[in-house]
């Protein structure tokens, strides 16, 4: 187990280093001059007063006059210490600015995960009762529709239906916690199908296992068989899938937060892109990578711990 854990950890570190390198290359390959943008951003679009000397001073301050390898190693070293640079717009550390917005995205993501879990596991369980039957067909049609619907359209339709058509939700009033319902529903709905399919398949697989036949022949109640002998082992793959939807939540949050004006990381990213605030874009990319890599690592280690057969990296 220790050997497996060390290998997995090394792979995770390698992926992180790869992402840090990729973000460095991306920023330097982009056809834009950070100094020009910074003067533009600071002076409200005009570059009055930005003399050649001031530009050179800023260039020196940012370390852009140093050689590429030097810049690269200082970038890696700073990232390793959690320093993601300074925002062009606010002149405050990117890490702090992002930290302020994590709770909003986290609460949205967790609520969406709950929606995804309830719908995915529920529909999957319904479908597995009679494979090939009427309910199975209906649920697979629902899954097909949810896979094909763009989140940005679904979100707007939900918003229109509940805010305008039914007038249940007030979108103009002061912010209140109940506002989370629609964005979380949108995000949760589009992520439901994979969980549903995996849980259905794994439930059907478990139903024909020997231990279930034994339980049946012992004359156990159907409910006990269903929950203790079929659902408990079957839920593992579905839980794993829920765990790795973390990355998808972060990606989907960008679109959903923009539709519902949810003040989280995704909206911050979009606003920063429009203002060409590249350190934020870079910081966001690294933060996402870090979250996803750590999430995958935890899932992998948990699996290796629970099932020794999986300990081959």
């Amino acid at each position: 187990m220790l050997r497996y854990a060390i290998t997995r950890l090394a792979i995770a570190l390698a992926v992180l280093l790869g992402a840090v390198t990729a973000s460095f290359i991306l920023i330097h390959a982009a056809p834009s001059d950070p100094v020009a943008i910074m003067f533009g951003a600071v002076r409200g679009g005009s570059q009055v007063g930005a003399t050649g000397a001031q530009r050179d001073a800023l260039r020196h301050e940012l370390g852009l006059d140093r050689s590429w390898p030097e810049q690269y190693f200082s970038w890696v070293a700073r990232t390793a210490q959690g320093d993601l640079g300074t925002s062009f717009r606010s002149r405050r550390p990117v890490a702090t600015e992002m930290g302020n917005r994590i709770p909003a995205t986290l609460s949205l993501g967790l609520t969406a995960l709950v929606v995804q879990a309830i719908l995915g596991l529920g529909l999957g369980a319904l479908a597995s009762r009679h494979p090939g039957g009427f309910i199975d067909h209906v649920t697979s049609a629902i899954a097909m529709i949810l896979v094909s619907v763009p989140a940005y359209w679904l979100g707007l339709i939900l918003l229109w239906t509940f805010a305008v058509g039914l007038n249940w939700v007030d979108v103009t009033g002061p912010p209140d916690p109940s506002r989370i319902v629609l964005p979380a529903l949108t995000l949760g709905l589009v992520m439901t199908p994979p969980v549903m399919r995996v849980f259905r398949t794994s439930l059907i697989e478990q139903q024909s296992r020997a231990h279930v036949t034994v339980a049946r022949s012992k004359g156990l109640a159907e409910g006990v068989i269903l929950f203790r002998h079929i659902a408990r082992p079957a839920i593992l793959p579905a839980i794993t899938l829920l765990g790795i939807s973390l990355g998808e939540v972060l990606g989907g949050a960008v679109i959903v937060e923009s539709i519902f004006s949810w003040p989280g990381l995704g909206k911050y990213l979009l606003d920063s892109i429009l203002a060409r605030d590249y350190p934020v874009v870079q910081g966001y990319m690294l933060f996402t990578t870090f979250t996803v890599v750590i999430g995958t690592l935890i899932v992998d280690l948990l699996h290796g711990y629970l099932d020794p057969r999986l300990r081959t990296p």
Binding site: A19, L26, M144, Y152, G247, V254, V281, M285
Partner: protein
């Protein structure tokens, strides 16, 4: 493609008992064996393609023609999808946007397949250091959420439709590379490859004439199941303002424009989104049917 057609033509005993109205016409047989869901998907897609090609040709309105007297019209016979704030006919624009979106999707898919399958063949067949580098690169890319990567790349290189296509391709190839490599490693030591090597065929010839035709089927199925999410990603980036720029007709962009008239003219955002949904649904139905045919017959 040959593998695909062959897979679709394998005898299906359940259906062979019925009178075969399409006997002798391979294309018809292939289509009918897709099943109801697959046929529905094919029908939806055909409608979308016909609409994208034909409507702008026969429509009385130009794609960018503005009519100030007909602004923000509700859907009616003359304007089935209504008109926008400039009085542009949304039906004509939605059809023209189909050209934009479908072309961008096909271009992105073709590029991703070329790069992915090419690198996968190289990695799987050459092995060693090349294999290591390509696969670790693919691992890093696949560890990241695709949409975030697309947003970052598109943002850094400036908003344009081509940027979005390139941004998407830059990570979309990784999945194909990984699958191709796995498939290549399965067949690289098969007798027919050994035989080809023994008679002195060049690695290029072995890869393209022996290995590739053998592994094409699963890759095509994977690509078919991917087209829908590729289209959604491309339109999503345009929706966020990173892709197609006005006045280019593009579904994601039209949807984003319609948001400003959310209360007064909800049809402006409804129809472009519906077009994306129908297209993706059609592709997914067809892709699922193809996968079922191939996994059942192989």
């Amino acid at each position: 493609m040959a593998t695909l057609i062959r897979a679709l033509e394998l005898p299906d005993t359940r259906q062979a008992k019925r009178r075969d109205w399409s006997a002798g016409i391979p294309a018809f047989t292939a289509i009918r064996r897709l099943g109801i869901a697959g046929m529905t998907g094919a029908a939806i897609l055909t409608c979308m393609i016909v609409m994208a090609v034909a409507v702008p040709l026969v429509s009385p309105y130009g794609i960018a023609e503005t009519r100030s007297a007909e602004r923000l019209r509700e859907p009616e016979f003359a304007h089935p999808f209504g008109t926008d704030r400039l009085g542009r006919d949304q039906f004509t624009r939605a059809a023209a946007a189909g050209r934009t979106s479908l072309t961008a999707t096909i271009l992105a898919l073709a590029l991703s397949l070329t790069i992915g399958v090419g690198l996968g063949l190289l990695a799987g067949y050459a092995g060693g250091a090349i294999d290591m580098v390509v696969m670790r690169l693919a691992d890093v890319i696949m560890a990241l959420p695709t949409l975030v990567l697309g947003i970052v790349v598109a943002a850094l290189f400036g908003p344009a439709l081509l940027t979005v296509v390139i941004a998407t391709v830059s990570f979309w190839w990784a999945g194909y590379a990984r699958v191709t490599r796995t498939l290549v490693r399965q067949v690289r030591n098969e007798p027919f490859v050994e035989a080809s090597r023994a008679i002195g065929a060049t690695p290029w010839r072995i890869a393209t004439r022996e290995v590739l035709p053998h592994i094409w089927g699963p890759i095509i199925v994977m690509a078919a199941l991917d087209v829908g999410s590729l289209l959604m990603t491309l339109s999503g980036l345009s929706f966020l303002g990173l892709g197609a720029q006005p006045p280019t007709p593009e579904w994601g962009l039209m949807l984003a424009d319609g948001r400003a008239y959310f209360l007064d003219a909800p049809f402006l955002m409804f129809f472009p989104g519906l077009m994306i949904f129908l297209c993706v649904l059609g592709v997914n139905l067809l892709g699922t049917a193809l996968r079922q045919r191939i996994t059942r017959s192989v």
